[in-house]
Symmetry: D2
Subunit: 181 residues, 4 copies
């Protein structure tokens, strides 16, 4: 009979088990592009996360992103990762349909697709998520900046995106009808 | 030089002009399925409009629906028609993308598609729109009822939908992942 | 009893009636981006139409485009316009769903959206259509060129697109996952 | 230096490793609904697989389905599984976009969603795939039957679908605009 207290995060894996798993199957992720919209649903600002490396001091940009855990629904994973990266007062409006605007494929070896993740083969369902509240990333190293669609589409911003996510961000802007000419 | 006061609704047409136009080209509509969602974006209730005929007393069900006027954007048309049918305090969350979940084609002669509109050939862009406020249809003859997905999918409800919109409602439920087995 | 022969193109309108209608309601169009795909469905080439003006000699680029006629379904309009612009041996593979990858809104006055049509307010349902046969535009002034995604995304190509359709072409490339970084 | 011959299926896992992995993370699948279409892209027939159990003799119905292997793209997985279940002469027309028509979530415990897989937590990207050639499932126990949309939507057919896939099939029919009233 087990006398252990229940695991508070049953979907989480010890590091060695996650590493082993990453070598075996593609890992399912969700990604979110946080946006501010006007009353017509037109996107006015895009939220991009800025992450400072504690060792190199280098800055990279990224989107809300995280694994879908074992036993967790896609919606639960999306909400949990939004809260993890934007804080508890962001008030995200989750999509009514689980159909993503794109499926992003990250391979551990570069060059297969524009997207790349040295840790693993990851497949991410990507969503646009309007947020209406205050966004305060819970991790110290993370900061959220709001960019206009024009600013977000700037080659410098796109080039700073981690793992080739500039491509993903452009797909989001195109899907939203704000990519420009 | 014109001394007329500006037309407050420049997109509106006198009845005879609209009738003539309806015989010439397909008329562009927007339709909306109002929904109530939980914090995960899962749809809990579907808003269906109930319309009583003043002459026959017969009740029919319908969705939010209206023309796109000349010079009006699809988003503006969607917001205007939501306000017309749900009142000014419905607080609809308009979609971030103008891609509809389906395109509904209504022909003036029955049998071509399940959808039918004796007045005209109409093509409607259909959207799901979460609303968070109070819905009070501005027309006396109209009433909004909130149904669970199971209730909305009931054959009696679907059969009552005007112009064959039961098909459209089922498409919305399927798109939302709540159509059931 | 009518003794007239049936109208061979009942949806067509005399020029004056079309002009009048264009001033009254948005006109519904379909647009298609013809593509060549490999066995995995990945897009290898994009078909762009090149049109020479007989008076100015100027060249502009465009996509397959045309009206939805009164009484005509969206699918019929798409097939008819593909045949009109690509010839009878193009063998287009029409989409199984009528949901467009985007809805393009053209206003008669510039600046409202990147898209612009001086003749009218037009709303176009836009589709990607793989073609497997020979494409021979039936109009003398039209020529089809096949571009790689990289070539199609070149600013010079995008700037040559009629009515601001460079934006639309970029949306298609993003939707297909071949827009690049 | 390795003297082993290269692994012909590097993404495949020994049974025990797959079982272990299934207890750790959601497993990514692709599913396909094979269809026959007319020249307008309208779906005329739906391909449903019939599987006989060698032990019980019971028949169940299913769709084309299989894992995405480590290092394999979604498109490659889709093509490989179509060939596995429909044979080498099916000539599937793969979608030009990797956006699925729905994301199907199967949990190992029943009741969370209509979909259920006792072996694992699986998340499937679901696509509609027109096929133009001869379909001959390579496994003896499998047979492909072509159903009209009306036949496919029959409650008896839907109830026979493995793992609750009747829901998924209805979503496909709704997406294709052939679910009926």
């Amino acid at each position: 009979m087990s006398v252990r207290t229940p695991d508070p995060n049953p979907g989480w894996l010890p590091e060695f088990a996650l590493d082993e798993t990453r070598a075996r199957v593609p890992i399912l992720y969700v990604e979110a592009v946080p946006v501010r919209v006007d009353s017509h649903g037109t996107v006015e600002h895009i939220g991009v996360l800025l992450r400072g490396s504690s060792t190199t001091g280098e800055m990279t940009r990224t989107l809300v992103s995280g694994r879908v855990l074992h036993g967790e629904s896609v919606r639960d994973a999306l909400l949990r990762n939004l809260e993890k990266d934007l804080g508890p007062t962001a008030f995200p409006q989750l999509p009514t349909s689980v159909v993503p605007f794109t499926v992003a494929e990250y391979f551990p070896f570069p060059g297969v697709t524009p997207l790349h993740d040295p840790r693993q083969h990851a497949v991410a369902l990507a969503y646009v998520v309007p947020v209406t509240g205050e966004c305060n990333p819970r991790q110290d190293a993370l900061e959220l900046t709001w960019l206009t669609p024009e600013e977000a589409a700037h080659p410098d911003v796109l080039a700073d995106m981690e793992g080739g996510r500039g491509t993903l961000l452009k797909q989001a802007l195109a899907h939203l009808g704000v990519l420009g000419a």
